[in-house]
Subunit: 138 residues, 2 copies
């Protein structure tokens, strides 16, 4: 089977970059700097579906996303990392930059309020800054 | 500095076992089979505060908790893994066995309803089964 991004993840997010094991996408919600990593293998559900070495690569990819968010959004107070998959079973990891002033703090972001899509210009700016930061990290 | 478990984590959880890098505790909420891993180092907040090799060990510890939960609770439908830390900054990772019939499904468990502490006997049974499963995993 070939890897194919789940259509619900695709609809909720916008392209950023592919790093090593994972496709990195930006959640289309300007309330939170919120990345989603999707390992590019078919039929993954749990982290334990990855081989040992690929789990380590995923950990590296997550750490890379943490550093990128902290660099692009210096007002980040805390990074939230989560692999839930209750709604979309395709293995994906959320990496979210939290601020103490954001719409959900100190609660988790999932299911809070209504997402606010980026305007086209703002989206392009954020995508550009993220890609530049990933290029520096890699 | 020596490692000391945050008093709020200590109050909300009960002992299970120490594995490799992490202290594993059971959330004292019988609604969800819910483990918390706390790497036994002082002053950790983000996953990226760990060294590269310790991040891999944490990934192994998380995978171990996933396998243990799936073995002890065979009706597990999905494992949720999360490192949030908005309330308690000491680095800790939640590993939660979710069932489609549980009190929060398909939403995340954090902040849902009121926790239901185990009765002493039931707690002892679950702790015993978890410890036996960890011994088999290691």
């Amino acid at each position: 089977m070939t890897f194919k991004l789940d259509p619900r993840l695709e609809a909720d997010t916008r392209e950023v970059i592919d790093i090593d094991l994972s496709t990195v996408r930006l959640m289309n919600d300007q309330r939170f700097p919120w990345l989603i990593l999707v390992p590019r293998f078919a039929d993954l559900v749990e982290v334990t579906d990855l081989s040992h070495s690929d789990r380590y690569r995923l950990m590296d990819n997550v750490a890379c996303c943490c550093s990128v968010l902290q660099s692009v959004f210096p007002d980040t107070h805390k990074i939230n990392v989560g692999a839930l998959g209750n709604m979309v079973s395709q293995l994906h990891v959320h990496v979210i930059a939290r601020r103490t002033t954001d719409a959900a703090w100190p609660n988790p972001v999932w299911g809070v309020g209504k997402s606010e899509p980026y305007e086209a210009n703002a989206l392009g700016v954020v995508q550009g800054r993220l890609r530049a930061a990933f290029s520096e990290e890699q």
